[in-house]
Symmetry: C2
Subunit: 160 residues, 2 copies
DNA sequence: CCGAGTCGGTTGCTTGATGCAACCTTGTGT
DNA sequence: ACACAAGGTTGCATCAAGCAACCGACTCGG
């Protein structure tokens, strides 16, 4: 994807995509939002090549979307956390999730649910709690496995 | 970007990005939403390579995000229109636009404004009209050049 | 009637990003 | 002493993107 620069575009959508439009980038942000903070976790969870993951994390840190913090020394090991700028991507992720849910025709329902932490209500495509009506932000919500995963979770046992 | 498939991912964000996460795809959707419906318009406006644009348009039609309709015959010429599925991407585009606006520090303000057609109010990052509070959809809103472009519109004259 | 231009592509070639496996460093467990 | 973990880096093969040239059907000007 080159480095996803869109020369000549003066639109903020293009600007946003220059930063988060590269392959894997939004999925990395999603994973970090869900609590996967370490290189190995991200690599295994996503199945992304290690050099690519390394490049993306570096770029995300440079762009002030992630912050790299040591969680131990000798040997030094690091975790990645979302900055406020990174957390602000939440509405975009929620919108994409909702679009995928609506149009990918999963047999057993959505694989992932976003719920409002304080009231447990479902979060809609605008990041608004369906139950209490509040306009939410990243910290107000949590992701849970949805009916789509729960129903198919022993799928891989079938061939045995 | 390969063809943007994310094997093993069961999340709807990954599903969505398999379709609209390829380079140029979301910008094509944005342009069509803004009324650029023809191959040549899109190519000139985006600066994308013609073969790539051709491939993206084909994929978007296959995925039922765009519809290809003839607007004249002999020679046959086509226009691309958004389907309902395509129009449903509007909240995601609005969220990305808002994120880009907030974090790209444009000197003269945002280059593009989204306004509610019926009341003229500004649309926020959730696709909600700031003026009347209505939760909007693609057809309820319109894009206008913002202060960022208007202020810099004769920029290209400087070298002369 | 001929040449130039328009529109919507396709083809061939080059460049650059991605995928994959191997390796490195620092340290722990046995 | 050996294997293993974490967090990467390096080298190489492959695949997608960028670029320019071309094509077919038609219009317009002279």
């Amino acid at each position: 994807m080159l480095r996803a620069d869109y020369p000549g575009q003066i639109c903020s959508i293009a600007k946003a995509l220059e930063v988060v439009g590269e392959r894997w980038t939004l999925l990395i942000v999603r994973d970090v939002m869900n609590g996967n903070r370490r290189f190995g976790e991200l690599q295994r969870g996503l199945g992304v090549a290690r050099n690519v993951l390394s490049a993306r994390l570096q770029r995300l840190v440079e762009e002030d979307i992630l912050e790299r913090r040591p969680y131990q020394s000798s040997p030094e090991r690091y975790e990645y956390f979302l900055t406020e700028k990174g957390l602000d991507l939440w509405p975009a992720l929620v919108a994409l999730l909702a679009w995928g849910d609506r149009h990918s025709s999963e047999p057993n329902g959505p694989p992932m649910l976003i719920v409002h932490k304080v009231c447990g209500g479902k979060v809609n495509d605008r990041g608004i709690c369906e139950s209490c009506g509040e306009v939410l932000h990243a910290r107000d919500a949590r992701a849970l496995p949805g009916p789509g995963v729960l129903a198919g979770q022993d799928e891989h046992l079938l061939p045995l």
